[in-house]
């Protein structure tokens, strides 16, 4: 028996990254002969940057952050779609009934995050005029305070904020949820240079994540307990949040579409320093090596 | 009841190196208008006594009374000239240092300046009022301190070797000025000096302290000569010799 292979992975603290947590808490990494250190930071996207210096071997986060990092270092690649965020991001309003009534009012958006991506999609999908809304840049954790104080009339942000805000502030309701607009997806990223020279470890990690995903699908209650333990959060709360997403561990045309969308959005914001294609950002070999059937592109 | 009463006063300092009893059972009564000179070897406790009388330090035993009321802290009624020059305000000019006490009483700018200039004159620093302490010589700083205390016109003056860093001539001039001010206003003065001649020339009584630890008043010599005093007179010489003998005895107790 060989000594376990050491790996470091990093991500945010958020149930949408559950496969990482479950793979660790449920022992899937260990069973695949991996000794994995899971580091956490303020958001999954922030941790993707650490792939560049090869400080970590894998990260889990949103499309835009992955593409941005790929632009700086082509070694940063997406190896699998991890999570589809079905009812995860919403526009939540206070004392407003619908998007029509929101016209001329202030909307809080966290710039550069999924919040902004989502708001841009809402505007384009519903054919709204961006000039009708005053966008206020607010960090996600301050959204509730700003809404409570009346600095903004609505915000576009991910869970748990909408749920929290609805519980805490009267007369609030969800105006649009991302289900109607755009399914946002979180991807698993790796450093390609490292992965190619450690193909064995890479394949084992993919295998462990797939097993974790299958475990979440078959044992949602137990999986939620594991995630709650890892995050030191309330079990029921985590279980509720986990129903709003779907864990995938595959690569589909939808995955490619989302990467393409992220590229387009970055271009629109003048943040695309050079042209890239989804084919460059996505690297399917590891997933193919672990479970060829899950690669559907 | 005297104007000032020191009643069994003692002071023990507690430091890292243990306790040190600097002053023990010090008794003295000063009448109003007296000019009392305190003499004693270096380190015998003169400054310590003065600090207690000024109200800076509380005696660790005994009591000090001013007009019958215990001294609880410093006040404008007792003007102090300190040993050393740390008490001058570096950020003020010589003139503003002198006028500091007047400013506290919200005296007008012009009047303040006039008084300060008069005292600058008196201590021989005419025209040097715009200099800051760091631009003054040792003796000049000392004179600014004296001028500051005098300009404030306190009822009682406590002076710790005020003329120590001065040349004989400047010293003589200031002795004369002090004596004149004292005779005119009859302030009560406690004057610490090492100069026996100076003490005999200025004082109505001279006190000599025993050396420490436990420094205390050893003897008091009244000097009943008229002012201004003739320093070469036989009576003056007799006083001088008497005080000198007391101090000498203190240094060489077995001779």
């Amino acid at each position: 028996q060989n000594a376990p292979i050491k790996m470091t992975i990093a991500t945010g603290v958020d149930p949408s990254f559950a496969p990482y947590y479950v793979a660790r808490e449920g022992g899937f990494f260990t069973r695949n002969g991996l000794d994995v250190t899971v580091n956490t930071g303020p958001s999954g996207s922030a941790m993707i940057a650490f792939l560049i210096g090869n400080q970590i071997n894998s990260a889990y986060g949103a499309e835009q952050a992955g593409v941005s990092a790929h632009l700086v270092d082509p070694n940063v690649v997406a190896v699998a779609e991890g999570t589809a965020l079905l009812r995860w991001i919403s526009v939540l309003g206070r004392n407003v009934e619908n998007m029509e009534a929101l016209k001329g009012k202030k909307v809080g958006v966290a710039r550069g995050t999924g919040s902004e991506t989502f708001w841009l999609s809402v505007v384009s999908k519903l054919n709204l005029n961006p000039a009708d809304y005053t966008i206020v840049n607010v960090e996600a954790p301050e959204m509730v305070a700003a809404l409570e104080r009346g600095n903004i009339d609505a915000f576009a942000v991910w869970e748990p904020w909408p749920t929290r805000a609805m519980r805490a502030i009267p007369n609030t309701k969800i105006l649009v949820s991302n289900e109607q607009i755009q399914i946002v997806r979180n991807f698993v990223y790796m450093n390609k240079g490292w992965a190619q020279s450690n193909m064995e470890a890479t394949t084992r990690m993919m295998r462990a994540l797939i097993q974790a995903q299958e475990f979440i699908a078959s044992n949602p209650t137990e999986a939620a307990a594991q995630v709650a333990r890892f995050l030191r959060q309330d079990r029921a709360f985590i279980a509720e949040l986990m129903t709003k997403v779907e864990y995938k561990m595959n690569l589909t045309p939808d995955s490619v579409g989302n990467i393409q969308l992220a590229i387009d959005q970055l271009r629109g914001m003048n943040r695309l320093s050079k042209e890239v294609t989804p084919a460059e950002v996505i690297w399917k070999e590891p997933l193919a090596a672990a479970a060829a059937g899950r690669v559907m592109i | 009841m005297g104007f000032v009463e020191l009643d069994g006063v003692g002071m023990t300092f507690r430091g890292r190196t243990g306790a040190y009893e600097a002053v023990r059972d010090f008794n003295l009564e000063l009448a109003e208008g007296e000019f009392f000179c305190l003499l004693g070897t270096s380190g015998c406790g003169k400054t310590t006594v003065m600090n207690m009388l000024a109200g800076f330090d509380r005696p660790t035993s005994g009591e000090i009374r001013l007009e019958g009321r215990p001294v609880r802290g410093p006040g404008a009624d007792r003007g102090v000239v300190f040993q050393g020059h740390d008490s001058l305000y570096d950020w003020l000019t010589a003139r503003d240092n002198i006028a500091f006490g007047l400013r506290l009483r919200s005296m007008g700018r012009g009047e303040r300046r006039a008084i300060a200039d008069r005292f600058l004159n008196m201590v021989g620093l005419t025209g040097q009022g715009a200099k800051h302490p760091s631009e003054l010589s040792g003796g000049m700083k000392q004179r600014i301190q004296i001028a500051r205390a005098l300009a404030n016109d306190p009822r009682m003056l406590l002076m710790d070797e005020p003329f120590g860093a001065l040349d004989a001539m400047t010293r003589a001039v200031l002795q004369g000025e002090l004596s004149r001010i004292w005779s005119e206003n009859r302030k009560t003065v406690l004057f610490i000096t090492h100069d026996i001649e100076e003490a005999c020339a200025l004082a109505t009584r001279v006190g000599v302290m025993k050396r420490g630890p436990g420094g205390t008043l050893k003897a008091v010599v009244p000097i009943d000569l008229p002012f201004p005093r003739e320093r070469t007179s036989d009576a003056f010489m007799a006083c001088f010799r008497q005080v000198h003998a007391l101090i000498h005895e203190e240094i060489h107790p077995h001779e």
Binding site: N137, V138 | A54, P74, P154
Partner: protein, 253 residues
Amino acid sequence: MNSRAATVAGYLIGFALLFAIWHLASVFIVRSVLFPSPFPVFERGWVLIADGLLQESVWASMRRIIQGFLLGSAIGIPIGLAIGSFRPVRLLLEPWTEFFRFIPAVAMITVAVIWFGIGEESKIFLIAYTTVFVVVIATAAGVGAVGKDKIRAAQCLGANKFQVFALVALPATVPYILTGMRLAMANAFVTIVAAELVASNDGLGKMLWDARLFMQVEDIFVALISLGLLGFATDRVFRLLIRAFAGRFNPTM
């Protein structure tokens, strides 16, 4: 004159050395895409200046820094003097200052937003918050170091507690206050970055966060260098003002 020339020459050499080492480090030692050499950074800086974007950010941040810094100092100096001068005040207020100064401004963002909303006020509050404690401590330490003969002299010239405070403790403490303010200025610069995390649409902090999110390494370094150089310049101006207006309080600075 000669000494001033030496000073400027020293600064120029110092900065040249700094950039030379940076260049060498980026080329030979670190070699990471996240650590660019100075040239692309200067190039990017130049572009931002040409577009007027850098000036805009600098101006927005500097305005906040200066307002918060002045507010914080104006509150901190009297509190520090009071803590240093009056024992009851010290006993009562010290738990407050010694408690809050360890709580980071970044953690106060939420509270700031609750109280002051997401506008300028909350940013200025955060900067003042970070300034005030340094000034309080330095001022109180200064009061403690005033020569006791200076205070005694004032007392027996008839000064009451307030006069000792205003006419002796304050001026004698000026060098300490100024040192405290110089130290606090760095806190203000540090905090602007946290403050502009809150709902802001301009400023060097926002530039930094945006650049971080989109991995625009050159922009990050432009923002950092701007902060550093601005800080350096502000500190020099502060020292000049001190020399010009408060020189007599402070022969050593």
